[in-house]
């Protein structure tokens, strides 16, 4: 497997507090990798390090072939990011948002134009090109956010709880988009609270108290822990966590 993310004992300490400890794993190209963990387990810290937003305290990592300490700018250009809390500007229109992010990622004008057309068609938002994002229903916003986060065809896209609060049908449509991206070779690194979404991933890691407590495919994890669902596996691991998001 072509690896796009490699980490070796990646650690982050805030003073005496060890937020993430000795994370070691690999993610392959085109893989859908689920990153699970309770609040306070260290998920957000880990993701921020991988995105080049937080400097690790120790350990090594390469993202899209770039070193996490010395080449953070290159990393940022090769990845996409979407979070539930923010991604699009409410007071700009759909096409303005696409144009903005395309520009930020360094795409050329003709490339942005073609990409905008493709995107609008795929999402069936042709008629809404000039609508302000704040007037779109939540589900459409989420789908648009995702598409915008990969507008520049990055190697990896990081999704931070992208489907929170969205209705079940839209959630699945969102995952269709994720599948489509993975098929095109984009590696998807996603965190979620929905355990059924964990099943859609190729492999899943579960963080507890700052450490990776389990990492494997959902099927293997279910076998290993003898549970029928990922939810039960997660519950078993998280139940005894000392850090309940304090």
């Amino acid at each position: 497997m072509d690896t796009v993310i490699t980490t070796d004992k990646l650690t982050k300490k805030f003073g005496a507090f060890v937020a993430a400890s000795e994370l070691t794993f690999e993610v392959g190209k085109g893989e859908i990798f689920g990153f699970l963990g309770a609040n306070g387990a260290g998920k957000t810290t880990a993701m921020r390090m991988l995105c080049g937003l937080l400097t690790p305290t120790s350990g090594k990592a390469r993202i899209a072939g770039y070193d996490i300490y010395t080449q953070t700018e290159r990393i940022k250009r090769s990845i996409g990011y979407m979070s539930q809390k923010f991604s699009l500007y409410d007071d700009l229109t759909v096409s303005e948002n696409i144009r903005f992010y395309g520009g930020i990622y360094g795409m050329s004008r003709p490339a942005i134009r073609t990409k905008t057309a493709t995107l609008l068609d795929e999402l069936e938002l042709r008629d809404e090109a000039k609508t302000l994002v704040r007037e779109l229903p939540l589900g459409w916003k989420q789908k648009l956010s995702f598409s915008v986060s990969i507008v520049h065809d990055p190697e990896i896209v990081f999704l931070d709880e992208p489907t929170g609060g969205v209705d079940p049908v839209t959630r699945r449509q969102f995952w269709d988009l994720i599948y489509a991206a993975a098929d095109r070779g984009v590696t998807v690194f996603v965190t979620t609270h929905y355990m059924d979404e964990a099943e859609y991933c190729n492999r899943v890691s579960i963080m507890v108290d700052g450490v990776i407590a389990a990492l494997d495919s959902p099927a293997n994890l279910r076998d290993q822990y003898g549970h029928a669902s990922m939810e039960d596996v997660f519950y078993e691991l998280a139940r005894n966590a000392k850090r309940k998001g304090d």
């Binding site: 007071d91 700009l92 520009g103 930020i104 360094g106």
Partner: protein
């Protein structure tokens, strides 16, 4: 480079889509130019003065004629006695008094000089200096005129005395102004922000769905600000006594009482502002823009109200700090008692009651 341009473009879009901010960005400079260019000025015209002529000869009559003819002065009365003058100064009816002692003309012709007594209200030193200068220029003109007809130079010398502020210090003017401004701003801003913060945090929702009566919410928001403002007031008075040598000439109790009244007025305004503001930022902006400008411009300590166009004078009547400013000057600088300030106190009381009642009525007990 391209990224930079893309970002700049986005920022422009944000700004132009925010109507309220746009209004302020463009509206404010225009308003200021209009105000400062046309309405407010430091030039003083038609200052009210009194003339007392104990001599009543040709020379005094001529000089009085010249003074009357100038557009600087508006001669209030031709008073007879010094007592009446004193009272007029205290009431603020006149800014300056010009007194011609007996035998003025004779003294001038026989000795070559005569002294003209000029008393000016020094509590606004800028104003006082300006009008005495105007007077001086008229007298100098007259001196030259007299010199043409006479063998020897004739000098009329005005002897100027500044009442209430003999050294023409700035403090007596700006301390009352600052008091009004500071108390007003702090009270309105603190109160409006405190209430809106509750709304923003979401705790207001829970408070409303409880037996807690809305009026208690209001009182509890006003209480700490009232206390803090009183402390502020005491600090200002103490500091101005010690460092600026500006003690309270009149009754301290009266001053504190009126100040508390003014604080309550400001708190009510803050309350009113908080009702429509949805974010703390909006509350703060509302307090600053909505209250600071009118207070600074229309209180009367930076720009004399008497010189403003009629509409601004009318507007200034609505600004509570204008009335408070008068009270402070009269009690603190001129040492006057309640009889001199009862009208202003009544106005402030009325304003407070009105504002408080309106705010109470309009306080939103629902989320809409």
């Amino acid at each position: 480079m391209k990224q930079l341009l893309v970002f700049i473009r986005k920022e422009f879009l944000h700004v132009f889509r925010d109507r309220k901010t746009l209004l302020m960005l463009f509206g404010l400079p225009i308003a200021q130019i209009v105000l400062f260019g046309f309405a407010l000025s430091n030039e003083i015209k038609d200052s009210r003065i009194a003339l007392v002529d104990y001599s009543k000869d040709a020379i005094t009559t001529r000089l009085i004629g010249k003074i009357e003819a100038s557009h600087y002065f508006d001669i209030q009365h031709t008073l007879a006695s010094a007592d009446e003058l004193n009272a007029a100064f205290k009431r603020g009816d006149i800014k300056m008094a010009v007194i011609f002692p007996a035998n003025f003309g004779d003294n001038l012709i026989h000795t070559g000089t005569a002294t003209l007594q000029v008393i000016a209200d020094g509590s606004d030193p800028n104003q006082a200096t300006t009008i005495t200068n105007y007077l001086q220029s008229i007298v100098t003109d007259y001196n030259m005129e007299l010199a043409q007809d006479a063998q020897q130079p004739l000098q009329i010398r005005p002897e100027v005395q500044m009442l209430y502020n003999p050294e023409l210090r700035g403090a007596p003017n700006f301390v009352p102004g600052v008091m009004a401004l500071v108390l007003m701003l702090v009270c309105t801003m603190m109160t409006s922000v405190a209430i809106v913060k509750e709304k923003e945090m979401g705790t207001m929702e829970i408070l409303l769905v409880s037996p807690f009566r809305p009026v208690y919410i209001i009182i509890s928001k006003l209480a700490p600000n009232l206390l803090i403002s009183i402390v502020n007031l005491v600090i200002i008075l103490v500091l101005s006594d010690i460092f600026l040598d500006l003690p309270v000439k009149g009754s301290v109790a009266l001053l504190v009482f009126c100040s508390i009244l003014f604080i309550l007025t400001s708190l009510s305004i803050g309350l009113l502002l908080s009702i429509n503001a949805r974010t703390q930022q909006a509350a703060m902006m509302g307090s600053l823009m909505g209250m600071m400008l009118p207070t600074m411009l229309l209180t009367g300590f930076l720009f004399p109200i008497e010189n403003m166009p009629f509409i601004l004078q009318a507007l200034s009547n609505l600004v509570p700090s204008r009335w408070y400013f008068i009270i402070v000057k009269r009690v603190m600088l001129k040492g006057l008692g309640f009889s001199a300030v009862w009208k202003e106190t009544l106005i402030l009381t009325g304003m407070t009651l009105l504002l408080f009642t309106i705010s109470l009525r309009r306080f939103k007990i629902r989320l809409q």
